[in-house]
């Protein structure tokens, strides 16, 4: 059932011009960044040879590419997520699923999976760029895999927040702005709080503040570290917003 809903959402995304526009610009921006990085790499390559144990192409090209992806997705995911629930409520089409023998959890998870499939497709397309370097070089597959896992989890957080924002209002653009504001707020709060607290020598509150910030949790992955605490933080964050979305829709049924 979750699959049926996800399939429908994915189809709807591909039927909307907005998704294609986002997909196109993501590719253009990221590809441009990628080529610039390669240029830089070519220029400093002679000097790198003289350094003992020099950073490789994965570290100098793939890592910054995924870091850019993490930031650009902050803008893209709220735009992709904004219509998922708000527009259905506005057009009163959510009734079709609510009247069907589906639980609210299945509906929300289905929509989340559909959105995530589309966003992960963008991540996969991005990952193809560094893979193209295999034609003339070698990649550090450990770091590469860690980057992909990190970004995949990161965009899942974005998607959950975007979905929740979409359930708050019937106006899609308001939903996108809410999602964007929430994400930016969480990012800044998590960042400053975590750094500030750690600076004062309070590692435990700093670690708790880190839960809030998806981007902070991405940092270990960018260094090639599969940090289980960061993974837990991101899963917790996604789950929290999905539960909030389910509760929100259930409340609409209870209170009307």
């Amino acid at each position: 059932m979750i699959f049926t809903v996800a399939r429908k959402e994915l189809k709807a995304l591909f039927a909307s011009p907005l998704a294609w526009v986002v997909l196109t610009f993501m590719q253009i921006i990221l590809a441009y960044g990628f080529i610039r990085r390669i240029d830089d790499f070519m220029q400093i390559q002679p000097q790198l040879v003289q350094v003992p144990n020099p950073p490789g192409i994965t570290e100098l090209v793939a890592s910054p590419l995924f870091a850019t992806t993490a930031v650009v997705m902050l803008f893209a995911v709220p735009l992709l997520a904004m219509r998922l629930i708000s527009e259905e409520r506005r057009n009163q089409t959510l009734v079709l699923m609510v009247s069907a023998p589906l639980s609210m959890t299945e509906i929300v998870l289905g929509k989340f999976c559909g959105l995530l499939a589309f966003v992960w497709l963008i991540v996969a397309l991005t990952a193809l760029m560094p893979l193209a370097l295999l034609l003339g070089g070698r990649l550090d597959f450990g770091l590469f895999a860690s980057l992909i896992v990190g970004v995949a989890l990161l965009v899942a957080c974005y998607a959950a927040v975007g979905l929740y924002a979409s359930s708050l209002t019937v106006h899609p653009f308001a939903a996108a702005m809410i999602a964007f504001g929430l994400l930016l707020g969480m990012l800044l709060a998590g960042e400053t709080a975590a750094d500030g607290l750690r600076g004062r020598g309070w590692p435990v509150p700093a670690a708790l503040a880190q839960v809030l910030s998806p981007l902070k949790n991405f940092e270990p992955f960018a260094k090639g570290m599969l940090d289980s605490y960061a993974i837990a933080c991101m899963l917790l964050l996604s789950a929290t917003f999905l539960i909030l979305t389910i509760r929100r829709l259930d409340a609409a049924r209870l209170r009307g």
């Binding site: 059932m1 009734v95 079709l96």
Partner: protein
Amino acid sequence: MTNAQPAEITVSAQGLLRRYGAHAAVDGVSLELKRGEILGFLGPNGAGKTTTMQMLTGNLAPSAGAIQICGIDLLERPTAAKARIGYLPETPPLYRELTVREYVDLAARLHRVAKMERAPAVRDALARCGLADAAGKLIGTLSKGYQQRVGIAQAIVHRPDVVILDEPTIGLDPIQIRDIRNLIRELGARHSVILSTHILPEVESVCDRVQILHHGATVFSDTIEALKRFHGGRTVIAGFRNPPAAGEIAALAGVARVEAAGDRQFRISFADHADPTDELVRRAVDQGWRLHQLAPAYSSLEDVFVGLTQKEDTAK
């Protein structure tokens, strides 16, 4: 399952109550529906028809009351109960970017129609709603009447025991209305149907039973014949080529009220428990009034409401 006893109860609701703040949109509505029956919900806008239907389909949780669909409690086992309901809300929940076939197929999937049965179920629903030729068209390009049919196809594709239609003929032209009414009559043969409307003749032409809501409460619940007796049998229109004075008719025993109704016609209301028709005809012949028309006058929905609500007030 579908060949069960004709008297099987498919929908049963007791004491439905729905509050919005201090205001009760639906206040103590109960209903019962048997297989093969078509129940009409009649009432002016804001009477609580839509709210009641939203509760019956699990789109809105009642503040109090219980609902059973084929004996399954809707509030305790919502998914099992919802599987037996097909619902067309006031605004059909259509995805404009899908084709008719894709959309009805999606509805079948969401209603857990088994994979093997899905293609025939979709084909059957499209055929029954007269959509076979439009199956490949985008829903957004269809006319309103066709979109309404797609909405009905969505509600019947999983062969539910109960079909609930909220104002299915609103905004359609007379030919489309006739088609949809025929379709509803056909549905009544296989499913239990609840439909809401504020058009009195619509209820009379398709429903077996009628329940009239007013201010969130039931003011009348009986068969169509009883409704017709209630609002149709007590008043006649009489036309005379050589009309007498209104006072002469009013003087007849059993006549409560006489009003002039157009050119040499009178609207004659009978007193309770009296039928002065024979006396009226005899007098007309004797006096040479030249009676040429005598027909029961159907009152408008407003008249029925006024009658019902007044009756309720006096009962209180």
